[in-house]
């Protein structure tokens, strides 16, 4: 309860400083709108705002899911095969070292203005941390447990399912926490470069029409969306409680 009041007071103060700071300084709306003007613009365009939010949310979710599957697969491959470690991993690292924003226009060329190019951008941004977290998690499986499983005559699949995967989960979850906000950034970047829908599109559209209040409303929605998705991952991560527990 005390924590709730603390948080409430803090955010109210931030909102008030924004609102009255803008009003008293006489800053014009197209430069920096007051909070009330942002809400007003958002409410007036609520149909559009909601539709664009859903578009972006869907891009982020599917992009994240694909990044998870691909990242896990590549992480596993690299962990299990020396050849993959010497070939696939450098390729992935090179891809990661490339400024991904520079690739975004190409994605539009390859996948068009629609959903597919945003999906590709979200995957591209999100999947590297998942690869690294998978490799790190699997490499951290205690040797004594590996030997114990060997002594018990465990099949490779059993060793993976009962030992390696659960032992790697804490690290993997950390990777997901980094990847989730990156998936949001990927989708927005994709929408910036070329799109007909989504919050990124709305931001570009509103800003270029000097509708700064609407632009801010869209930015707030992106923030809320990213926090909700991050919160979901964080909630799941609490079921992996054995981080750092050694017996």
């Amino acid at each position: 309860m005390k924590r709730l009041i603390e948080a409430l007071l803090f955010w109210t103060a931030v909102a008030l400083i924004w609102e009255f700071g803008v009003r008293w300084s006489g800053t014009r709306e197209y430069v920096l709108p007051a909070l009330s003007q942002v809400f007003k613009a958002g409410w007036e365009m609520r149909g559009q705002l909601l539709a664009d939010t859903l578009t972006t949310a869907w891009e982020v979710l599917t992009g994240f899911a694909l990044a998870l599957l691909g990242g896990l697969a590549i992480g596993l491959l690299v962990s299990m095969s020396g050849i993959a470690r010497r070939t696939v991993l450098p390729l992935v690292t090179a891809l990661q070292s490339m400024p991904k924003i520079a690739l975004a226009p190409l994605l539009i060329v390859w996948f068009g203005y629609g959903f597919a190019s945003k999906l590709a951008a979200a995957v591209l941004f999100a999947f590297f941390p998942i690869v690294i977290a998978t490799i790190g998690g699997l490499a951290g499986v205690p040797r004594n447990l590996e030997e114990h499983f060997r002594a018990l005559g465990a099949q490779p699949w059993h060793t993976f399912w009962h030992l390696r995967l659960p032992a790697a989960l804490p690290s993997l979850i950390d990777g997901l926490k980094i990847a989730m906000p990156l998936a949001v950034i990927g989708a927005i970047v994709g929408e910036f470069i070329g799109s007909e829908a989504g919050l990124g599109h709305l931001i570009v559209f509103a800003t270029s029409n000097a509708q700064t209040s609407l632009s801010f409303a869209a930015i707030l929605m992106v923030t809320v969306l990213a926090m909700l998705f991050y919160g979901a991952v964080d909630l799941i991560s609490r079921s992996v409680w054995w981080r750092g527990v050694s017996v």
Binding site: H148, A151, G153, H162, V245
Partner: protein, 283 residues
């Protein structure tokens, strides 16, 4: 089968002879574990030079015997145990368990390590079941044996707890339970109580002895506690410094069942401890 049986019967006198000369080498028909001229070298790696860990080690352990290997740190006794378990290959010689050459881990053998090796994300009961699950033992069979086993180990009230909520002694009991549930013929133990305090260690020794007494287990225990070795064993094998060799084979002729109070006040117990201490170079 009948032939094998009669051959075994015919060999009985020879086997009995080998019992008195366990270092004589050569397989005996009733040996549960037969280690024959085994050697192990570890190759040079990085700055480290190649060295010989074990050199021409032989030993015969009969079915249902309790044998301890005593030796200084680094003498290769843990390596030897891992070789018997099929976890480390022999460079020379061979190891037979229940007449079968060991090349990989087999279901007849269960290994208890110094670390309990329990999985932190499984309850005590799930951990004890884990080995049986990995070996695909029938569920009904596991379910039938589990309650009695938990009772024997004093873990019934802790079945639903997680390992980190238990004391080190309790964890080691659970680790032993995981192996007992598999009903192996041979239990190999690598300093299973080495990380425990003296009191817990003594208590677990008594319990281990009781469990062994009521089973058909053959136990090979690696330890560097002389008292533990004398209290538990039928025979104690003393190993040399690296490269490890079996220097002495001491039969512990103390009555069974052994009660700690009774045995430790027995003058022969003290004599064995003194003798082994001398062999180990303690004094």
């Amino acid at each position: 089968m009948a032939l094998a049986h009669s051959m075994q019967a015919a060999r009985q006198p020879i086997a009995a002879d080998a019992q008195h000369h366990p270092l004589s080498g050569g397989a005996t028909a009733d040996a549960m574990i037969s280690v024959e001229q085994v050697g192990k070298r570890f190759g040079a790696r990085g700055g480290a030079e190649a060295f010989s860990a074990l050199d021409d080690v032989s030993m015969q352990i009969r079915s249902r015997e309790f044998v301890s290997i005593l030796g200084p740190s680094g003498c290769g006794k843990s390596t030897l145990l891992r070789m018997v378990a099929g976890l480390v290959p022999c460079d020379t010689g061979r190891i037979l368990v229940d007449q079968t050459p060991i090349k990989a881990p087999v279901p007849e053998i269960g290994v208890v390590f110094q670390t309990s090796n329990l999985l932190p994300w499984l309850t005590v009961e799930a951990n004890i079941r884990l080995g049986a699950k990995l070996r695909n033992l029938p569920r009904a069979q596991i379910a039938a044996r589990l309650p009695g086993l938990l009772e024997t180990l004093g873990l019934t009230q802790f079945a639903d707890r997680y390992p980190h909520e238990l004391s080190g002694g309790m964890r080691q009991r659970a680790a032993i339970g995981q192996i007992l549930l598999l009903e192996p013929k041979v239990m190999l133990m690598d300093e299973p109580f080495g990380a425990l305090d003296a009191l817990t260690r003594d208590r677990l020794n008594v319990e281990l002895l009781r469990i062994w007494q009521h089973s058909t287990l053959t136990v090979l225990l690696v330890t560097h506690s002389i008292h533990e070795a004398v209290f538990l064993s039928d025979r104690v094998l003393v190993m040399s410094e690296r490269p490890g060799k079996v220097l002495h084979d001491v039969t512990i002729d103390l009555p069974r069942p052994r009660e700690p109070g009774e045995i430790k006040s027995n003058p022969r117990y003290g004599e064995y401890v003194t003798e082994l201490s001398k062999m180990m170079g303690v004094f």
